[in-house]
Structures are given as structure tokens and as C-alpha cells.
């Protein structure tokens, strides 16, 4: 049997912590009994080039572990738009950073422009934009219990950054929840 799957991509540039944030989500889902496959594509440069981290989530063993039809696309940089666009499933949700990825092409998808990196800056570091995005994605997609995600963030974060990361996750959840309610009104 083909797995009934959910596909997520977190796209941006190298150095934004995309793999780590996908890893946290994967940990959380795994802890709740899901089968997960997480892969990444990256350029030889470790900083600045296009980078993406993909998740395929299923209740049973994942057969093909790479993404073929994205249900969710998170964009933390405009560089990730072009290589990800052909993979969008019709009706997929695209969560894009207002500052770093302001413009999106036409298509059959639901757009959520959120101030992910700005929220990170306001919290004290743009480097936590990935965790803000993680919170927003979790809230919008409803794929993961918040408690499990918090636990995964704790497990993967060094002590000195733990408070900052948990704040970023909470801020991301707020952004996601607000966007959900707006979406309900406008749809």
C-alpha cells in the first residue's frame, strides 16, 4: 500500500537552521508514533546558498522518502521559491516571511505572509526565525501536539539558548493562530 502522506518543506538559505528546525518537528512527530523521513538538499557552500529541509510524514513506513507534492511550504528566503514551486500540491499552504520573501508567484495555493524573521529580531536574534517558523507551521498545520514540539525544542537546544528558543516557538504559535483566525474570516 502507498503511504498516505503529508509533505512539508522548509526552504531558505544555508545557515538559517532549516535542518535543525525540521529535525525538531520530526522528533516531536516521532515521539507521537508517526513515521517520518527527513531529507535535505544543499549547495557545497554551507552559508548563503539555497537550502531546504523536507519532511514526509506518515502513519505507516514511508516508501519514497523524498517530497513529490508539498502540502506545506515554509519560505524563509526568496531563493527557495523557484526550486520549490514545481513541487506544490494544488491547494497547498505556503507560509512566507514578509521581509525575506515578500513576493510569491501566482498559483493554486493558500498564502500566509508572516513576519517570521522580524519577530526573531524583536526577540533578540534573527537566528531564531527558524523556530518562529516552526511554531507558526505547527499552529497552522495542526500536525503536532504543542507539548511534544516543546519537548523536542528542549532536547535539541543548548541550555544558553533554551529560553530564547521557547519564546520564539511561542511567538510562532501566536502568529500561526492569528493567521488561522484571519484565514477563517476571509475564506
Amino acid at each position: 500500500m502507498r503511504d498516505a502522506r503529508l509533505e512539508i518543506r522548509i526552504g531558505g538559505t544555508g545557515g538559517q537552521g532549516l535542518i535543525l528546525c525540521a529535525r525538531m518537528l520530526a522528533d516531536a512527530l516521532c515521539a507521537r508514533g508517526k513515521r517520518v523521513a527527513q531529507s535535505q538538499t544543499y549547495e557545497p557552500t554551507s552559508r548563503g546558498g539555497f537550502c531546504n529541509s523536507d519532511l514526509v510524514i506518515s502513519d505507516v513506513e514511508v516508501d519514497f522518502p523524498l517530497t513529490t507534492a508539498l502540502d506545506y511550504l515554509v519560505l524563509l528566503d526568496r531563493l527557495a521559491v523557484k526550486p520549490s514551486w514545481p513541487l506544490l500540491k494544488p491547494g497547498a499552504m505556503v507560509i512566507a516571511d514578509t521581509r525575506l520573501c515578500p513576493k510569491l508567484p501566482e498559483g493554486d495555493y493558500r498564502a500566509r505572509h508572516l513576519p517570521l524573521s522580524r519577530t526573531g529580531i524583536e526577540l533578540g536574534s534573527e537566528r531564531v526565525a527558524n523556530i518562529v517558523a516552526l511554531g507558526a507551521l505547527a499552529a497552522l498545520a495542526g500536525i503536532c501536539e504543542r507539548e511534544a514540539l516543546e519537548q523536542a525544542v528542549r532536547a535539541e537546544t543548548p541550555k544558553s539558548f533554551l529560553d530564547l528558543n521557547l519564546d520564539a516557538l511561542a511567538a510562532g504559535y501566536r502568529l500561526g493562530e492569528q493567521a488561522t483566525s484571519i484565514a477563517r474570516v476571509t475564506q
Partner: protein, 389 residues
């Protein structure tokens, strides 16, 4: 189980780990206690993991000065009686070939991981390929037998790493563990709770008086018993063609006898060496043959094809060399066409054509670094099915 083992043992049955991490875990579980390597993308994580894990279990990790030194040190450690591993990718695999031939000829067990990336030459270090299928079999000069295993998932990398050591030790041979960059760096949910039953083979060691011991005598099973340095046998090991006593010879009869035994070494052991997986082969009109990430795509393609009324099946060799020929012939018996999707310009398809002589063998050959998708395979399978009707 000692304290160090306990520290490494899974805390829970389910893990989220990468293929290269699974390889390191499998090696430790198999009893590997020596690793020598040289940094290369995309296999370096195997070395990085083992640099931490091996000292925990009393083993040795060493980063050598180059790829050749790495395989040489691994063979040296195994000559000392210690299970040993190295890991590399295409360019390093090429560099190791002469010494892999030495290990095959002198019958020194060892395991070589080759994570396949784009080629030729430096190729595409961070992109997958499956272009070393033939090199794994024929990479060193002269005639020699070798075993190559091709796992397709993170869990299977763990299992096949253990099996690689078991086969290496049992049959005194180098074993190549061949997987692509996708599987190597893929992180998957794996269940390591049911690994207790996996075999743990030990080398057949020499016993009895020194005078009666012949280091390359055939024995009952064609596999000579090895002597451990320090056990009093004081034998000579050489890459020169040698007789049963281990010393160099150019006597045609002695060379033919010993090399003949070597070349036929796996013939009586197909039951334990061959391994493959079949999916929906019983009624398949189109048989797909694939390994690694291409086989994962093919598995998904089966359902897509069947939903369109095409009876597709999958034959996936897990032991790649020696190729499970008999099993492939059986799986393909009813198929009217065979499709080989692979990330190279035509390697597995050559072997399939050879084995299935005369049957229609089509292929998807991809060498641009993009994995072949399930949809592409399903589409080609459908076209093949229609072509025949």
C-alpha cells in the same frame, strides 16, 4: 553487556537517525572495533560517529593521511584479527581499489562503505548517484570474487552493516556496502527494538599443530581458516599468487588450484549470501528492478501503476554482488517486460539484460543528480505494458 555497550544501546526502540549514523551503530553492534578513514562527502558522518563510539567500546578510530592509507590500515587491523571498517565515496572508492583487490586475494575480511555521489571524478559531492555498481564488482585488477550489499533504507543500512561483517568474517572476503547519498543522509524513523536475532559471525580461526596448518587450505567449505598473529602459526601473507602454504608461487598448477578455489568461493554459499526483496511480483506483467533510492521510488510507483491497471512488480537485489540471478529469473518468469530505473548511464540494466537474456529490458537512466520519481517510473511502466498489448 558492559557499561560502554549500555551507554550506546538504544534507550527506546524507535529512533530518528540518518543512514550514515545507522551504519556506525550497525558496525558497533557487529563487533567492529577498528575504523580508518579519510574525510569525504557524503560519507564523513560514518567516521565522525565512530570517532566517538569506538573508544567507548575499547576500539580504535584513526583518520589516515589519505584514502589508500585508510583501506590499508583497515586490512592491517583485520590481519591482526580485529573487525575493521572504512567509509568513503566515489573518488575514495577508486583510490582504494588496488588494496581491495589485495584483501580479496589474500582473503582478509573487511568492510568498505561506499556512499555513491555524482561522478565521474569529483562529480557532484552533495548529490546522489548509483554509478559505482560495476566498480564495486570489477574495480580492482585481475579476477577476484567480492560481495556487495545495497541497502535502501536507514534501518536496512543498520541490518546490512551487520550482515556485511558477518559475510566478511564467514567467507574471508572484503564486503562493499553500497548506498546512495539520499539514503546516507536521510533521517528516518527506525525501530531498533528487534535486532537481537541478527547473526554475529566470527572468523574461522586456525587450530591444531603448526606443522599441520596450511593457511590457504580449502577446508570443508572452501574457506581457509585464518591464523591470528601471536597464536604461534607465524604464517606469510602476500598479494602475490600463492600456494596453500601462503608462500608466493608461479607454478601454474598451484596458482590454478588456489585461485580456482578463490574464484569459486561463494558458489556453494548462495543460500546465505543472496538476499533480495520482491513486491507484487506474482502477477507482474512489468517487472521493475532497482536498488537504493530508485527502489524506494519504484515501491511507490507500483501502487500508482496498479491504480491505472498496470500489473507492476518490484525485484530489489539487497545482495548486489554476487547478483541473485536465480531469484531474478524466477521473479521475471511471467513478466513481459522489465524496467530498470537507475541513477547512472546503464549499469544494473546491463546485468539484468545479461541474466534475463532475450527479455525486453527498458531502463530509466538518470545522471543529473535528481532522483528518479515514482511518477516517472509508473509512467514508463504503463507505457511498457501498453507497448506489449
Amino acid at each position: 553487556m558492559n557499561a560502554a555497550d549500555k551507554a550506546l544501546s538504544p534507550k527506546a526502540a524507535v529512533h530518528l537517525i540518518s543512514g550514515n549514523h545507522a551504519c556506525a551503530l550497525g558496525a558497533i553492534a557487529a563487533g567492529c572495533r577498528f575504523f580508518a578513514g579519510y574525510p569525504i562527502t557524503p560519507s564523513s558522518e560514518v567516521a565522525e560517529r565512530l570517532s566517538r563510539m569506538l573508544p567507548e567500546v575499547g576500539g580504535v578510530f584513526v583518520q589516515m593521511e589519505d584514502e589508500i592509507a585508510s583501506i590499508a590500515a583497515v586490512i592491517g587491523a583485520s590481519m591482526g584479527g580485529v573487525k575493521a571498517l572504512t567509509a568513503t565515496s566515489g573518488p575514495g572508492f577508486s583510490l582504494k581499489q588496488e588494496n581491495i583487490g589485495y584483501a580479496a586475494g589474500a582473503e582478509i575480511p573487511c568492510v568498505i562503505v561506499n556512499v555513491m555521489r555524482g561522478g565521474p571524478s569529483t562529480g557532484m559531492p552533495t548529490r546522489p548517484a548509483q554509478g559505482d555498481i560495476m566498480q564495486a564488482r570489477w574495480g580492482s585488477h585481475g579476477d577476484y570474487p567480492i560481495i556487495a550489499l545495497a541497502p535502501a533504507s536507514v534501518r536496512e543500512i543498520y541490518d546490512e552493516t551487520i550482515r556485511a561483517f558477518d559475510l566478511a568474517e564467514t567467507y574471508r572476503t572484503p564486503v562493499v556496502l553500497l548506498y546512495d547519498q539520499v539514503i546516507a543522509q536521510l533521517t528516518e524513523t527506525v525501530d531498533l527494538g528487534d535486532t537481537e536475532g541478527l547473526m554475529r559471525a566470527e572468523r574461522k580461526w586456525a587450530s591444531g599443530p603448526r606443522e599441520a596448518y596450511q593457511p590457504y587450505a580449502s577446508g570443508d567449505d572452501g574457506i581457509p581458516a585464518m591464523s591470528r598473529p601471536g597464536a604461534g602459526y607465524r604464517v606469510h601473507t602476500t598479494g602475490l599468487n600463492h600456494a596453500e602454504n601462503g608462500f608466493p608461487t608461479q607454478n601454474p598448477e598451484a596458482v590454478a588450484r588456489n585461485l580456482g578455489r578463490l574464484l569459486a568461493k561463494f558458489d556453494r554459499h548462495h543460500d546465505t549470501i543472496d538476499s533480495w526483496q520482491t513486491l507484487s511480483c506474482d502477477d507482474a506483467e512489468v517487472l521493475i528492478v532497482a536498488i537504493g533510492i530508485s527502489a524506494r521510488a519504484a515501491a511507490r510507483a507500483l501502487d500508482i501503476a496498479r491504480a491505472r491497471g498496470v500489473r507492476a512488480g518490484l525485484f530489489r537485489p539487497i545482495t548486489l554482488w554476487p547478483f541473485p540471478e536465480k531469484a531474478l529469473r524466477e521473479a521475471a518468469a511471467k513478466a513481459r517486460a522489465v524496467l530498470v530505473p537507475e541513477m547512472n548511464a546503464g549499469q544494473l540494466s546491463l546485468e539484468v539484460e545479461r541474466i534475463l537474456g532475450g527479455k525486453r529490458v527498458d531502463a530509466i537512466h538518470r545522471y543529473n543528480g535528481d532522483p528518479i520519481t515514482p511518477a516517472e517510473i509508473a509512467q514508463r511502466a504503463e507505457a511498457l505494458a501498453k507497448e506489449k498489448k
